[in-house]
Amino acid sequence: MTVNPAMDQANSASTLALGSHQNLMQRSWILAIAAAAWLGVALLTALWADLSGTNWDYTGDLATVCAALAGVLAAAMFADLRFAHLRYAQALGPWMLVLALLVGAWEAVTAKLGLLPLPFFPPPQALLEVVIDDRVRLAEGVFASLRLLAGGYFLGAALGFVTGLAMGWSRAVGYWIHPVLRLIGPLPATAWLPLAFFVFPSSHSASTFLIALATGFPVTVLTWSGVASVSSTYYDIARTLGADQTFLILKVTIPASMPHVFVGLCMGLGNSFAVLVIAEMLGVKAGLGWYLQWAQGWAAYANMYAALLIMALIFSGLITLLFRLRDRLLAWQKGLVRW
């Protein structure tokens, strides 16, 4: 519930900026510069010959992509501010400018000047090449990772939620589960890895178990503490209004502990990413983690960077999704931190 006051200030400052004409002008200028910078990167890539002795197949394609980006930014600059999405693109202006400079510098020191050793530091067009040429394998990896992650995460979250609820609600359940949780909970799920691959019939089921374990622990603890922190007056009032046990659990306990549960779900999601990647590297012969390992084995660093980038985008997207869900469900709360 606590919000960084500086962040709050920054938020209100940017809101003000959206309303002020002068700032709009400034914003357009930044976008224009960003568009020009991307055009510059495109020209640099296309017109400056690659270092002799290298043959990057996708240099021209990279130039095209950069030019297209410059076009989109230019369009955003001229677009009417009534379009909310374009306004969002406008807010990205300074970032697009910095990114253009970074990509331009990267292109220059790798493909054009060869200042960084290969194969450890491939140029941007090498990543583009991987994404295009190896798209089938990457897509399969994304699909396998998401499938494994979803299975383990939902299982762990559901079991953790139910266990935490039972622990908070029933003294007897708390008595039996609490010591087990205290002993096993702090153990990193990856510590179970050798045992799990041995005990479970397949590496997929073993990894599902490990991801569920990594997710389940924080969800259990946070749900439990959420249930424990529900004010007893909430129950008193509901009881005098005629509520039975089921109603109390469904309509008082669960909604009242949701803010805690979401903290647990978020922590669990972070844990599940770590376990997913390690499990894929060590046992599961599929997924982005496996792809990373495989690429490293072949010294295919461009493939590795591409996979890392895709992984970062997917994981960040999943966390965004969870935060969106929370914002929707907990709209009644004030001052939620934005992801």
Binding site: D236, I237, R239, L241, G242, V252, P255, L330, W332, Q333
Partner: protein, 277 residues
């Protein structure tokens, strides 16, 4: 004496609600508290809280309970609400022994305790929802919100309400269930003095229009005298009833009424505060 004045008040209230008879009126219930004692079990040493408390409240009566801080007033209300079971003695509503919470006896606390994840409308609807009556009684929720003046805040969340509005919503959440007995545990205690004065007037008017029996705990002698038809004075813990003061002044009352001032002086005397008058 209590019964006599109780009867007088019932008559007054009766004629009032007859005049304004509307769909919201419910007959109040008679509450009887017979020789109730209660104690807290604190680390094996029982702490006596209530000692041989006996009290009869007539249907439609407005009884206020005054007493020193921590004397056990709120405990008595919890027993009446059925949230706790007395160590000894019997409580009954309309002759039915009280053995658990029931929607015919609803408590409103000092803290309005609205459910923050529910809109004002859903908060008010909670009792009907819990008893499976919401589908057939949706318009009751709207009626009660109108009654307490919150119709335009139906879709607001509790954090958007002021203190007075929150307490009105809490009252509505109780009233929508047609309680025969409304148990008020210092319901206006957290409000600023201006809101408090306005809410006292609203409370009287609600009580007159609806007709429930009201049992109010308060720290405020003026409030007790302004609202109640009978004031019960409790002793220090363990609480006993030390005095009952009937108040037959007709409603609506006026704060400047010299009779009320006289009653206040009398009650301050019972509370051992005569010299501060």
């Amino acid at each position: 004496m209590a019964e006599r004045f109780g009867a007088v008040v019932v008559h007054t209230t009766g004629s009032e609600s007859a005049v304004r008879a509307d769909t919201l009126s419910v007959p109040g219930a008679a509450l009887s508290i017979q020789d109730v004692s209660h104690r807290f079990e604190l680390e094996a040493t029982p702490l006596p809280v209530l000692e041989h408390v006996s009290l009869s409240v007539e249907p439609g009566e407005f009884v206020a309970i005054l007493g020193p801080s921590g004397c056990g007033k709120s405990t008595l209300l919890r027993l009446v609400a059925g949230l706790d079971v007395p160590a000894a003695g019997v409580l009954a509503l309309d002759g039915q022994p009280i053995d658990g919470p029931d929607a015919s006896r609803i408590i409103v606390f000092q803290d309005p305790t609205l459910y923050p994840w529910r809109t004002v409308w859903s908060n008010v609807a909670l009792g009907l929802e819990a008893r499976g009556l919401l589908q057939s009684h949706r318009e009751r929720v709207d009626d009660v919100l109108r009654l307490v003046g919150l119709a335009s805040f139906a879709t607001a969340y509790p954090r958007q309400l002021s203190g007075g509005m929150s307490q009105r919503a809490a009252l509505a959440r109780a009233l929508v269930n047609d309680p025969k007995l409304l148990i008020l545990d210092e319901p206006l205690g957290q409000l600023d003095s201006l809101t408090r004065i306005a809410m006292q007037r609203e409370l009287v008017s609600l009580w007159q229009r609806v007709g429930f029996t009201a049992l109010l705990v308060t720290h405020d002698v003026e409030e007790a005298v302004f609202l109640a038809s009978r004031v019960i004075v409790l002793s220090e813990r363990p609480a006993r009833i030390t005095a009952q003061v009937a108040n037959a002044r007709p409603y609506p009352r006026h704060r400047g009424d010299p009779h009320l001032s006289e009653l206040r002086r009398e009650i301050m005397g019972h509370l051992g505060l005569a010299e501060s008058w």
